[in-house]
């Protein structure tokens, strides 16, 4: 499927598209955007995907016709979230099978002009805020078939808008769940921080059970204004029957700061295209990645750190642990524009293999047009150091306990970069759970 395919899957063809439009109550401007995107989707299906991005991802196992948009709004199932209860949230939005089932925001934030809620509702009331950014700058529908597919069929999603000079201290929480077998979620996360605004958004994705197949075809757009400060976390914890495809991009203006943490624990097959675009002088983008793949999971990241102006700094650290027959691919690129002098770009991926049958590929890359920059990259992959295991065992730790401690320590160096305690704890808890400690 990385080659061209001619017709869309029947669950996402023209008839399905029209039925989808009928069933929704979108405003005209959105319907127009969807129609344009649907046309692009049909064109893009005839084009092969970028081999640089897709050649290590085997899409043959993915059969999109097995997934469809869920017409019925769920009653709002009790969801076993990891983050809930770990911190006090000033707002909470939940999506289930593509439908928003709850949305709350603290009244004090509303007073300050903060908008936090469901995209499907906000396109009616906040066109002025959304239209300039919604799939126009960070992720555009013409990127590839997945972007266009999402732009035509997006089902909802979480919007956070923080006006100029406004600081939202406690984090906000967004939950995306799939609870129905065969359901597709095409949720869209859009964060807009105006100049000198700051906020933290913690987003998690999960499945209602272990066995139901699902599809998430997501998009994340992060717009960070001048001097603004965004912390965004996405904890991907689908079940191992779920496909996860996403275009995610963050744009940072002058002296803005974006700290972006992604974790990949779940999914049968996941491919995430993550872009950090430093548009303004002095802007900073920091990326943390925690991946723990087991069984036959296939997890792929395609990351780009783009420096478009002077004195920008990007710093990406991905840590991956693999077990069983899992496979992880990381393809990273630092791009530096001609005018982006005095930039500092860094990318690193470290993979730790717990079994001989796991496989990790790390392919860092640099494209530098400026001549006065510092760009470094690195990648390591290796088995657990048996001398470490022996040392820990000689202190009374069992072999598994020793291995588990070494794995937790391996991730700890990423956690150390994450200032939100709830996230560190949640990540560690999830890793511990996946390691099977105490089972």
């Amino acid at each position: 499927m990385s080659t061209a395919i001619v017709a869309p899957p029947e669950t996402f063809n023209e008839a399905a598209f029209n039925a989808f439009l009928d069933q929704r109550d979108d405003p005209e401007w959105i319907i127009e955007l969807r129609k344009k995107a649907f046309a692009i989707y049909n064109e893009k299906l005839c084009e092969p995907l970028d081999p640089e991005e897709w050649k290590r991802v085997d899409l043959r196992i993915f059969q999109p016709a097995k997934f469809s948009l869920s017409a019925d709004k769920p009653a709002g199932n009790k969801l076993d979230t990891q983050l809930q209860g770990e911190a006090e949230f000033k707002g909470q939005v939940t999506h289930e099978n593509g439908h928003c089932t709850s949305s709350q925001i603290d009244a004090s934030l509303v007073e300050q002009g903060v908008v936090f809620g469901d995209l499907s509702a906000l396109v009616h009331t906040h066109r002025d805020i959304l239209e300039p950014y919604f799939m126009t700058k960070a992720v555009t529908p013409d990127r590839d078939r997945f972007a266009a597919w999402h732009a035509a069929f997006w089902t909802g999603g979480t919007v956070l808008y923080v006006p100029k000079n406004c600081s939202v201290e406690p984090p906000l929480h967004s939950l995306i769940a799939l609870t129905q077998a065969g359901a597709a979620d095409l949720s869209h996360t859009l964060v807009i921080l105006e100049d000198n605004a700051s906020a933290t958004l913690l987003e998690e994705t999960l499945s209602g059970d272990e066995g139901s197949p699902g599809l998430h075809l997501g998009c994340v757009e992060l717009i960070v204004g001048k001097d603004a400060n965004l912390r965004y976390v996405q904890l991907q914890n689908w079940n191992q029957k779920t496909y996860h495809f996403a275009h995610q991009a963050g744009l940072v203006e002058s002296n803005g700061f974006m700290q972006w943490t992604v974790s990949a624990l779940g999914a049968k097959l996941a491919h995430v295209h993550q872009d950090v675009v430093l548009n303004g002088r002095g802007s900073i983008g920091e990326v943390n990645g925690v991946t723990f793949a087991t069984d036959k999971q296939k997890i792929s990241f395609y990351t780009q750190q783009t420096h478009n102006d002077e004195q920008t700094r990007s710093d990406l650290l991905y840590k991956e642990v693999l077990r069983d027959k899992a496979r992880v691919v990381w393809r990273g690129m630092i791009k530096v524009d001609k005018k982006a002098q005095l930039t500092d770009g860094y990318q690193r991926s470290d993979a730790l293999m717990l079994s001989d049958t796991a496989r990790a590929d790390a392919i860092p890359g640099l494209e530098i047009e400026a001549d006065d920059v510092r760009c470094t990259h690195g990648a390591t992959a290796g088995q657990v150091d048996q001398e470490q295991v022996f040392y820990a065992m000689s202190r009374g730790l069992s072999r598994y306990e020793a291995m588990h401690m070494i794995v937790q320590g391996f991730f700890q160096t990423v956690y150390d970069r994450i200032p939100v305690e709830a996230v560190r704890k949640t990540l560690n808890d999830a890793v511990v759970q996946k390691l099977g400690i105490g089972d």
């Binding site: 150091d385 048996q386 001398e387 470490q388 022996f390 040392y391 820990a392 065992m393 000689s394 202190r395 009374g396 730790l397 069992s398 072999r399 598994y400 306990e401 020793a402 588990h404 401690m405 070494i406 937790q408 320590g409 391996f410 991730f411 700890q412 160096t413 400690i437 105490g438 089972d439």
Partner: protein, 269 residues
Amino acid sequence: MTSLLKIENLHVNVEETPILKGVNLEVKAGEIHALMGENGSGKSTLAYALAGHPKYTITQGTVELDGAKLNDLDPSERARLGLFLAFQYPVTIPGVKVADFLRHAISNIRNPARKEGEGLVPMREFRKELKEQMGSLDMKTEFARRYLNEGFSGGEKKRMEILQLAMLKPKFAILDETDSGLDSDAVRFVSEGLTKLTGPEMGVMIITHHERLLQYNIPQYAHVMMGGRIVETGDASLAEEIHNEGYTALRERHPEAAAEQEQVEAVTQ
């Protein structure tokens, strides 16, 4: 009952190469033994083999701790029976805090039946004990929050080994060249630390080819290894003799062992 570590006719291969060729040694609780010998004589091999390093294969003979045969036990099981090795080159485990590591370690040593995920020594109790032990070894408490041996100086690593010894309170401790590579102040810290820990409850085997550690911890027995065997056993005066006169006289007294040692060196280098 006085605890006993009994090594009988121990033969050990390292990757097919025979290194130990019949070591016999008994260490009782309360005793301090010095194990001396030149590089390549088999001292560290004995230490690793006792601790159960997977690369060191026992081909013949037995090691028993209070009657329990250690040969087929993994390093964790040996540690839980009361054996401790202070490493010559302590291993770094990035991201694992000293305190977390030690809390897991002592929980297993004190409750040898403990399974992973089961209860740990209560935090308050653990913290109090750790603080006391660190204080008596003159270690700053911030070490407890650092990652195990990461960025530690040579002296700090060795002191960390002694701290672990203090926390784990083994029946038998083997110190593998704990004094090597340290300046005289660091040797003094480590030696004094060890002195505080030794007593009637613990048997100690100090592996060294210097004598500095022994000045602070006077051994009742000194053994000299050569060519994979213990060729002489005496008291502290034997250690002193080696310190003053080197190994030349010993080699002359044991020409066969000396020749075998040279052979092994030729193979392993």
